[in-house]
Amino acid sequence: MAHVAMPVDKIEPSYLEVTTNTHKGLLGWILSVDHKRIGLLYLYTMLAFFFVAVGFGFMIRLELISPGKTFIDAQTYNQFFTLHGIIMIFLFIIPGLPAVFGNFFLPIMIGAKDVIFPRVNLLSWYLFITGGLVAVAGWLLPGGSADTGWMFYVPYSVRTTTNVLPALTAAFLLGFSSILTGINFITTIHRMRAPGMSWFRLPLFIWSLYATAWVQVLATPIIGITLALVIIERTLGVGIFDPVLGGDPVLYQHLFWIYSHPAVYIMILPAMGIVSEIIPVFARRTIFGYKFIAFSSIAIAFFGSLVWAHHMFTAGMSDTAMFVFSFITFIVSIPSAIKVFNWVSTLYKGSIQADPPLLYVLSFIFQFSIGGFTGLMLGALSVNIHLQDTSFVVAHFHYVMFGGTGFGIFAAMHYWFPKMFGRMYNMKVATWAWAIVTFGYNLLYFPMFIMGYLGMPRRYYDYLPEFQPYHFASTIGSWILILGLIIMFTNLFVGMRRGAKTPKNPWGGETLEWTTQTPPIVENFHEVPTVTTGPYDYSEYEVAKKEGT
């Protein structure tokens, strides 16, 4: 890729030292319109929410270690799994990659100085943080936090006396934040690409963000209006979904999943982009099937918007709907399969360095594949009827969302860490953390497949004794996973503070972010670079051999 003439030795103050406004300290951060600072604001707040949600997950698992009451009552348990879901989905995994790493790296990777609407970008962070605080407020107010599950299914969400309104409002605000980020990214990708950065020279992470942004813009408003309708229904008694007033609870589910299924793709697509970035760098060779990976992102975004009702196969839909939605569900798995095959092929005849980012990517491919395969089982109608609403589904979507997206986020953190902070974490510790996290993760979720098939319904506070061994293994897994997470984040934190300074391009990446200073200066580049090749041009290593050097 293009190499920009930049003085090698002269290190300028980075975005960490220089802000875009006149304020100092905290204000210099929360009022900054620098996309990199906003990316970090997202990172810190998002991680804070992540830890809280992990805490709830830990307690859910602890409660389930044995049948009967272990340490919390049923009501608290119901509130905990609701909070776990809302926080993980709306505050961690949806904004996780686009808002943190998209914000930080999208402009740099296309050779731009910032996103096109920097102030709107800051506004979306404010909406994000407000949404998060409203969600937390609902948890502290009298009445207790919502106990509806993150799906807010009507009529339970209209009936329950807990604080559903703050949770709904929070989700609404967060949706709006996500929309604004999407608008910003689409326009930025269209308008701000550096000279020579044609569409097919875009890094694949950018392609995946582009597809994601479209889903954010076009699907999120549906959930916005749906949740707003539930708010109106609860506060003003307007008859929309409430069966007592003639409403149709299944219609609510349609509208909910019209957004929430594509939302799964908002979560997974950027992670797929990360994988496509990391593999070529650590295999030191060009990606296999660039265009197939790029177009499969668009195909996933498109077909992914047509399959929402596969969450409702037991709801009593028409046979036509069952046929169509099941069929397209199988079709949508094709582009994902294409990606997996291309990634594995990219390892072929590479020159591979198995550093932590790549290790997380390998876990991603393994776990995402399991998530995908179990998705096939859920897509087959007759099997779905049996598996719907059991812990099999819980395992399936955790394999996709945590085993996939979560590990994608971990991979991204380890990959871009040196660029973001100019320091390096301890590689050995990171590798150990990876091993522990991967093992704990699989021990936590795999048993759920088995007990799900044996008939363990989801969202159960208590269970029949026959499921105990699986629950026990799963809870042990959660402890190992959390141990691994603690090691991983401590290592990153220590690295951020005291890690060794890194050169501009520690991994040998070829995309534009590795050509700029580490950590980057405020507007990324002094001169906008001119791009002359595709994003993963590693031919120099091959040439070097032929010339005998």
Partner: protein
């Protein structure tokens, strides 16, 4: 896995095994290839990479073959589902009412129970209705599940194949005691069932006759 306990069990399990087997083959293939490549082409062993941009034949193969396999999975799933929808006309009709957090069953003659008793090898149709929020009628051993709504009629059916007692669970989250919303279905020999039905109906001052089934 369970031993076959209803008319659906075998079909559903067979399809599940089919998909699982195919998935395992591919999963193992992917994983082994990945690990092998990482070791075989490690930077130490293979310091010089080879840039391969892609291969159209491969792309077509790994789009086409999965597509065919997926369509076969879809097809078997659809066929199995059609069976679940084809409720026989002579099925014993039971009205099932769900409320937070219990089930109640009503026989054609008006007999109400909180546990379901049905004769073995006889098709049973359940008409599902909820008094309050959403529930789901789930007999894991029979591979039967259907959501139960207020203001909407749903139904399901099954035909047991073995005498015994099986759990009925609520599978759609419905609040505080969701996990305790269990009931059971007792599958009885026809004679034993008739006896039970006559006794229970007499006790409730109802005519001990299963009224002719009307659709």
């Amino acid at each position: 896995m369970f031993t076959s306990s209803s008319n659906f069990t075998n079909d559903v399990d067979a399809l599940f095994v089919y998909i699982t087997a195919l998935s395992l083959i591919v999963l193992i293939g992917i994983t082994v290839a990945m690990i092998y490549f990482v070791i075989r082409y490690s930077r130490k062993r293979n310091p010089v990479p080879k840039n391969i941009e892609g291969n159209l034949t491969l792309e077509i193969l790994w789009t086409g073959i999965p597509l065919l396999l997926f369509i076969s999975m879809f097809y078997f799933g659809w066929v199995g589902y059609k069976d679940m929808r084809a409720i026989p006309d002579d099925a014993l009709q039971i009205k099932v009412t769900a409320r937070m957090w219990q089930w109640s069953f009503e026989y054609p003659n008006g007999l109400k129970t909180d546990t379901l008793y049905v004769p073995v090898s006889k098709p049973v149709r359940v008409d599902l209705h909820s008094m309050d929020v959403n529930h789901a009628f789930f007999i894991p051993a029979f591979r039967v599940k259907k959501d139960v709504y207020p203001n909407k009629k749903n139904d399901a059916w099954f035909q047991s194949e073995k005498v015994g007692r099986y759990d009925i669970a609520c599978a759609e989250y419905c609040g505080l005691n969701h996990s305790y919303m269990y009931s059971a279905v007792h599958i009885m020999e026809q004679k034993a069932f008739d006896q039970w039905f006559a006794d229970a109906s007499k006790k409730a001052n109802l005519e001990p006759k299963l009224v002719a089934q009307t659709k």
